[in-house]
């Protein structure tokens, strides 16, 4: 079966970086902050590539980003590891999950995608909503937190990581699948492929061309970094630890 897989990717601050807040608490300090493709989305790109590599049919992998010109570098990373196409929806405003899902739903329909693979959450706002919202807007089945995918006669069999254990569902296509950490380990781009990706075209669409207005759903009032440090009492050994937990902290 020929198939088009759409992979929404988000550009997020590198998770190894310490996040600082602007002095007025209006948001994070973006100066000199390095960015990466959201790690869960990188897993989604990798899975799409593996589906293409293991298929006898035509599979097209389209990476989609929403944001400013700065996004080009991260989209080229997806091209460098093997995505067939990359598309940037130009939009300067910061978007919440609802508006991301609305934009994606228009792109999915325009592109007539068969499968959307995306990270279960973006590691900046940690909302874990966009995939579910997109599935609801499209009225497509969803399988969140995927740790294994297999194609079957009836659709896509997905192992899901839930609090209770590994759940297995079969979703009919078209569907939205969100990826969890253990689905795969994304490959690295080789230098020749990085150089090749630089010459590829990134398709661009202006947000206004989609016929949508932004409908804000969440308003940020303030951000702060809470101190989590505690005064650690170094105990001399097991005996002191037990005494302190029992008589001082009273937790055992």
């Amino acid at each position: 079966m020929n198939m088009k897989i759409l992979v929404p990717t988000k550009r997020v601050p590198d998770t190894d970086q310490k996040i600082r807040i602007r002095p007025d608490g209006s948001g994070i300090d973006e100066e000199n902050l390095p960015y990466v493709v959201n790690p869960f989305d990188a897993i989604a790109v990798e899975e799409a590539l593996r589906i293409r590599e293991n298929s006898n049919d035509e599979v097209e992998v389209l990476a989609v980003g929403i944001g400013s010109d700065d996004y080009e570098r991260e989209l080229r990373t997806s091209l460098a590891i093997g995505a067939d196409r990359a598309m940037l929806i130009e939009c300067a405003a910061a978007l919440d999950s609802w508006n991301v899902a609305r934009i994606l739903s228009v792109i999915v329909q325009r592109e007539q995608a068969d499968l959307v693979l995306m990270g279960k959450q973006a590691v900046d706002d940690d909302s874990n909503q966009a995939g579910q919202f997109l599935a609801a807007l499209l009225d497509w089945p969803q399988a969140t937190f995927a740790s294994k995918l297999d194609f079957t006669e009836n659709g896509l069999r997905v192992a899901r990581e839930t609090d209770a254990g590994i759940e297995t569902v079969v979703v009919r296509l078209p569907a939205v699948v969100t990826t969890d950490l253990r689905l795969n380990e994304p490959r690295y781009a080789s230098l020749p492929n990085i150089l090749r990706a630089r010459k590829k075209t990134i398709e661009r669409l202006e947000f206004q061309q989609l016929g949508l207005e932004i409908e804000p759903r969440i308003q940020l009032l303030h951000m702060e970094v809470l101190s989590t440090g505690r005064n650690c009492i170094r105990v001399s050994g097991v005996d002191e630890l037990v005494v302190r937990l029992r008589d001082e902290a009273k937790v055992i």
């Binding site: 590691v123 937190f145 609090d163 209770a164 297995t168 569902v169 950490l181 505690r230 630890l241």
Partner: protein
């Protein structure tokens, strides 16, 4: 405000996060002259509905077509009940179930949703919410725009609602089964059977990290101490990646978020993503052979040394007492 709490259960008992969600809902209702209803969905769920009625008025939706918690059906049901009962605020505990099902319901209801709420105030009849971002490194204060609003709360941030003397009313809700979507089929769930309490619900959690070399050692040291204390076991991502512990043991930003009364971190260095999952525990103990491990910075008590020596001593000492 009319508030709907979406209950989570295993067909026999409520998950403890649901009690915390009811407590949050009661608090908001008290400040907005509102009322709270608890929606129990599933099949053969009479005992859960009865348990829920000890903490809240209950709407019970019992249907064979709702035996498995598949997202498209459950989300449709939650959205329909929200509209029919003119609900202003839908609340659930932030679990994999709610992220999946209630998240989709929020998508059907217009997308005004805040996840992982850890604190709130009511100002001019409007909810002001606090929620973590960037793996808990940042706390954001937000309000939602739009109606109805959907919120998941961190169970660890709200004391569970306690049962009242009087049992509340249980209202049976009927649905048109033929209208439900049917594009996801549930095959199975592989639950891990364990004699230990659930890591997200236990009063004490003992967790192991990279310093533990294999599954047998994990069971002997982490499991042994947990059993001695009547606690649950967890692990860092390093042990899951190494295949020493199963996926659902992972405590951290991308695993489970816990806040027990006592968290004992053994051989866990304290990566940001792990700290995000446990730093709100009431008392934290770190045992590590590296005196500079970041875990000591968030710990109340620190013990430097080889856990292969210290933990058997600790188990012995506790056993003797």
């Amino acid at each position: 405000m009319r508030i709907l709490v979406v209950a989570e259960h295993d067909t026999e008992v409520l998950r403890s996060g649901t009690r915390s969600a009811v407590a949050f809902a009661n608090s908001v209702a008290a400040q907005t002259d509102g009322e709270v209803e608890c929606l129990v969905i599933g099949h053969r769920i009479a005992s859960v509905a009865k348990e829920a009625a000890s903490i809240s008025k209950v709407l019970c939706l019992d249907s064979e077509s709702l035996t498995a918690p598949v997202a498209d059906r459950y989300a449709r049901v939650i959205a329909d009940v929200t509209i029919q009962r003119k609900i202003d605020l839908v609340v659930a505990a932030s679990t994999s179930y709610a992220k999946d099902v209630v998240g989709r319901a929020a998508g059907l209801l217009g997308g005004s949703m805040a996840s992982d709420v850890v604190g709130h105030t009511v100002q001019d009849d409007k909810l002001v919410l606090r929620r973590p971002m960037f793996a808990g490194a940042v706390t954001a204060t937000v309000t939602l725009i739009g109606h109805p609003q959907i919120i998941t709360i961190r169970g660890s941030a709200y004391e569970p609602a306690v049962a009242s003397v009087d049992e509340s009313e249980i209202i049976t809700v009927d649905i048109d089964e033929s209208s439900l979507p049917n594009h996801i089929s549930f095959e199975k769930i592989e639950t891990r059977s364990s004699h230990r309490p659930d890591v997200t619900e236990s009063r004490i959690v003992v967790s192991g990290g990279r310093a533990i070399k294999n599954s047998d050692d994990f069971e002997r040291l982490v499991g042994g101490l947990a059993d001695q204390l009547g606690g649950a076991t967890g692990s860092s991502r390093a042990l899951v990646d190494a295949g020493i512990t199963p996926n659902d043991f992972q405590v951290g930003q991308t695993g489970k978020i816990v806040a027990p009364e006592l968290y004992i971190a053994m051989g866990i260095s304290g990566a940001v993503q792990h700290l995000a999952g446990m730093k709100n525990s009431k008392v934290i103990v770190a045992i590590n052979n590296d005196p500079d491990a970041p875990m000591f910075e968030v710990a109340d008590y620190g013990l430097v040394g080889d856990l292969y020596e210290l933990v058997p001593q600790l188990i012995e000492k506790l056993h003797a007492e």
